[in-house]
C-alpha cells in the first residue's frame, strides 16, 4: 500500500509545476476528479454526493481558468483529484480521523480529499449538520494550492461556520485563486445591455437593463454593481434566449429611438428580431415579416457574415464591423450612409499611435453603466472617446480609440466551465 501510494504520488507530482507566477500549482487547466468507489459516504446517496462535488468543482471553475470533469473511466492514477469518505483509519491515509467533532476533512496537494464520515454531512440547504458543499469547496481550494485564510467571509477559513442560506465565492477567494492561476479571458461573440420595459407592482412602467456577455453557445449576466457575473453562470444560450442559434451569435443591435424600439441578433448571413416582452425571437413580427431573414434584405448594402455591430443613438446609425471595414447604416433612410464602407482606422482612429485593434473585432458594446462604447478583441478592449473624454483632453479625434486595456481588468471573472458542468 505504501509503495502504491508512493507511485501515485510520484506520478501526480509530475503534473505540478512552478507556475508562471512562481507558485506550485497544477500546470494544466483541465483537471479530472472522481469520488472513489470505496470511499462513499454512508449518509447521503451516491448521486447526492456526486452532485455536490460537481457543484463544488463548478464553483471554482466559475472564478478561475480551471475546468473540472468527473472521470469515471480512466485508471485511478490518471485522475487528478480523488475524493472519498472514511472514518478513523481510512483509505490508506496516514492521518487518522478523530471521530465525531473537530476535524471534518483534509486534503493533499497531490489531489486527494478525505472526508470524515463520522461527521454529520448534509446536502445544501438542509438545515443542521455540516454542509458537504461548503467543506468540499474548502478542501478543493487546498488541492488547488490555497492555504487557510483568516478573513471573515473567506471559504478558506479553517474553522467551519454554519452555512447561511447559501454561500458563494467572495472577492477575496476569487483573487486568491487567480493569484495562482491567473484570471479568465477569451474572446466573446457579443456583449450588450438588454433593455426592456417592466411594470412595477404599482403599475408604473420602468426601463431596466442587464449586461450580457456571450461566447459561442453560452452567456453570462454581468452584475456591474457587484463587479462579477451572476452566481451560477454561464448558462446555455437556448435556456435564456429562446429561438437563437444554439452555437451563438455574431452581434446584437438595439435600435432605440422615439419611433423604434427593435432588438436584432445576427448570425452568419441572417438576423433575427427579438421579442423582449415575451423573451423569445419573433418567427413572425407584428409587421408580418418572418425570421430569420437575410442581412442583405433587412439592411441593404450590408453583407453577412459580420463580426459585430452596435447602434449609435447619437446619429441613429448602426455600425457594422466586417474585417477591417465599417458599414454605417442609416436606420431612418434604410440605406448605407454616404461614403461607406470605410476603413475602421478612418472611422475609429487610434489615439495612441500603433494602439489599434485593426479590424476583426469580436464585440462592439455600448455600456449604459459606463456611458461609452467599447470595442473588444481577444483579451483586450478599446474605449471609444466620447464627448466627456474629448472635453477633458484636447485634441482627441471623433470616435478615437483610447489606448487598450485588458478585458479581465474591467469585467471580472467571466469564466468558462467544462461543458459537462453546464448542466449539473
Amino acid at each position: 500500500r505504501k509503495h502504491h501510494l508512493a507511485a501515485l504520488i510520484s506520478k501526480n507530482r509530475q503534473r505540478r509545476d512552478v507556475s508562471e507566477r512562481g507558485y506550485v500549482a497544477f500546470s494544466k487547466r483541465l483537471l479530472k476528479w472522481r469520488l472513489i468507489g470505496e470511499g462513499y459516504s454512508s449518509q447521503l446517496t451516491v448521486e447526492e454526493q456526486r452532485y455536490i462535488f460537481r457543484l463544488a468543482f463548478r464553483m471554482w471553475s466559475e472564478v478561475s481558468p480551471l475546468e473540472f470533469v468527473e472521470d469515471m473511466r480512466s485508471p485511478l492514477e490518471d485522475v487528478d483529484i480523488r475524493l472519498g469518505f472514511g472514518t478513523g483509519r481510512h483509505l490508506g491515509c496516514n492521518q487518522r480521523f478523530d471521530g465525531t467533532g473537530q476535524e471534518f476533512a483534509h486534503a493533499w496537494f497531490l489531489g486527494d480529499i478525505h472526508f470524515d464520515d463520522d461527521e454529520h454531512f448534509t446536502a445544501p440547504n438542509t438545515g443542521s449538520g455540516i454542509s458537504l458543499l461548503k467543506v468540499a469547496v474548502h478542501e478543493i481550494g487546498h488541492v488547488l494550492g490555497l492555504p487557510h485564510i483568516y478573513r471573515s467571509g473567506s471559504i478558506m477559513q479553517p474553522s467551519y461556520l454554519p452555512q447561511e442560506s447559501s454561500f458563494e465565492m467572495g472577492w477575496m477567494d476569487r483573487k486568491a485563486i487567480q493569484h495562482l492561476y491567473g484570471g479568465c479571458n477569451g474572446r466573446f461573440s457579443t456583449v450588450f445591455d438588454w433593455i426592456r420595459k417592466e411594470k412595477t407592482p404599482y403599475g408604473e412602467v420602468v426601463v431596466r437593463f442587464n449586461t450580457y456577455f456571450m461566447r459561442d453557445g453560452w452567456y453570462w449576466l454581468y452584475e456591474n454593481r457587484n463587479n462579477r457575473t451572476r452566481y451560477g453562470d454561464p448558462v446555455a444560450l437556448q435556456i435564456g434566449w429562446h429561438g437563437l442559434p444554439k452555437d451563438g451569435v455574431d452581434a446584437y443591435v438595439h435600435v432605440w429611438s422615439r419611433k423604434r424600439d427593435t432588438v436584432y441578433f445576427f448570425k452568419g448571413t441572417r438576423f433575427w428580431r427579438y421579442d423582449s416582452e415575451n423573451d423569445r425571437v419573433f418567427t413572425l413580427d407584428p409587421e408580418g415579416r418572418r425570421y430569420p431573414r437575410p442581412i442583405s434584405e433587412g439592411f441593404p448594402g450590408v453583407i453577412g457574415p459580420i463580426d459585430t455591430a452596435f447602434y449609435d443613438r447619437r446619429d441613429s446609425h448602426i455600425y457594422f464591423f466586417k474585417n477591417a471595414l465599417v458599414y454605417a447604416f442609416n436606420v431612418g433612410a434604410n440605406a448605407l450612409a454616404r461614403g461607406f464602407p470605410k476603413s475602421i482606422r478612418e472611422v475609429f482612429p487610434a489615439v495612441r499611435r500603433g494602439d489599434h485593434p485593426d479590424g476583426n473585432i469580436d464585440a462592439a458594446y455600448f455600456s449604459y453603466t459606463h456611458g461609452a462604447v467599447f470595442l473588444l478583441k481577444g483579451s483586450r478592449f478599446w474605449r471609444v472617446a466620447g464627448s466627456r473624454e474629448r472635453r477633458r483632453r484636447l485634441p482627441l479625434p471623433r470616435n478615437g480609440l483610447l489606448p487598450h486595456e485588458e478585458v479581465e481588468g474591467q469585467w471580472f471573472d467571466i469564466c468558462n466551465v467544462h461543458p459537462t458542468a453546464l448542466k449539473l
Binding site: 507530482r13 478513523g88 471521530g99 476535524e103 496537494f109 497531490l110 477575496m172 493569484h179
Partner: protein
C-alpha cells in the same frame, strides 16, 4: 430511505460512539497547536508517508501522548510557573490572533471553544512549499518558512467594498 428492521429505527440511526477527544486542558491544547503547525510549521506534504521524519502522525501522538515532538522543544520545561513554555504561549497567542479571539496567551474558555469547533485537518502553518523547491522525486529542501495566510499576505487580495450578499443561483 435506508432499510431498517427495528420499530424505533435504531438500527439505522447514526451511533456517534466515535467521538473526537474534546480539548479541555493545556496538554490537549498543545497537541492541537502542534498538529496545526502553531508550535512548529508542519510538513504536510510529507505527512502522508508513515514515519516521515519531518511530520508527526496520529499514531506517534497516540503512542507518546503529548510528549516532545521530534525537533521541537518541550512545552513544559519548568520555566513558567504555570508549566507552559514561551513557545506554547506564543503558539496560543498566534492561534487566538488568527481566530479573532482576545490575545491573552491564556488557555481560556473562548480559546477552548474555538479549538473544539469543527475544522479542516490541513495545518494552518506549513513548511512553505513554494520556497521549498519541490523536485519530481518529492523531496523537499530544508526550508521552514511559514506558509499560512494572514491579513495582507495574499498579494492583491483586499476586501472588496462590493462584497455582496450571496443570492440564490
Amino acid at each position: 430511505e435506508k432499510l431498517y428492521h427495528r420499530r424505533d429505527r435504531s438500527d439505522v440511526r447514526t451511533v456517534h460512539s466515535n467521538q473526537a477527544r474534546v480539548i479541555t486542558d493545556k496538554h490537549a491544547a498543545e497537541v492541537f497547536l502542534s498538529r496545526y503547525g502553531f508550535i512548529k510549521p508542519v510538513n504536510w506534504e510529507e505527512a502522508q508517508f508513515e514515519g516521515s521524519a519531518s511530520a508527526f502522525t496520529d499514531d506517534f501522538l497516540e503512542d507518546f501522548g503529548d510528549a516532545v515532538l521530534e525537533g521541537s522543544s518541550p512545552a513544559w520545561d519548568g520555566k513558567d510557573p504555570d508549566g507552559a513554555s514561551q513557545s506554547f504561549i506564543s503558539a496560543l497567542e498566534e492561534f487566538q490572533r488568527v481566530s479573532g479571539l482576545p490575545v491573552t496567551g491564556v488557555f481560556d474558555e473562548a480559546t477552548k471553544e474555538a479549538m473544539n469547533k469543527p475544522r479542516c485537518g490541513v495545518p494552518d502553518k506549513e513548511v512553505d512549499r513554494n520556497a521549498a523547491g519541490f523536485d519530481l522525486k518529492g523531496h523537499i529542501s530544508n526550508n521552514t518558512s511559514v506558509n499560512g495566510s494572514h491579513d495582507g499576505d495574499m498579494g492583491n487580495t483586499s476586501a472588496s467594498t462590493h462584497q455582496s450578499q450571496a443570492g440564490h443561483r
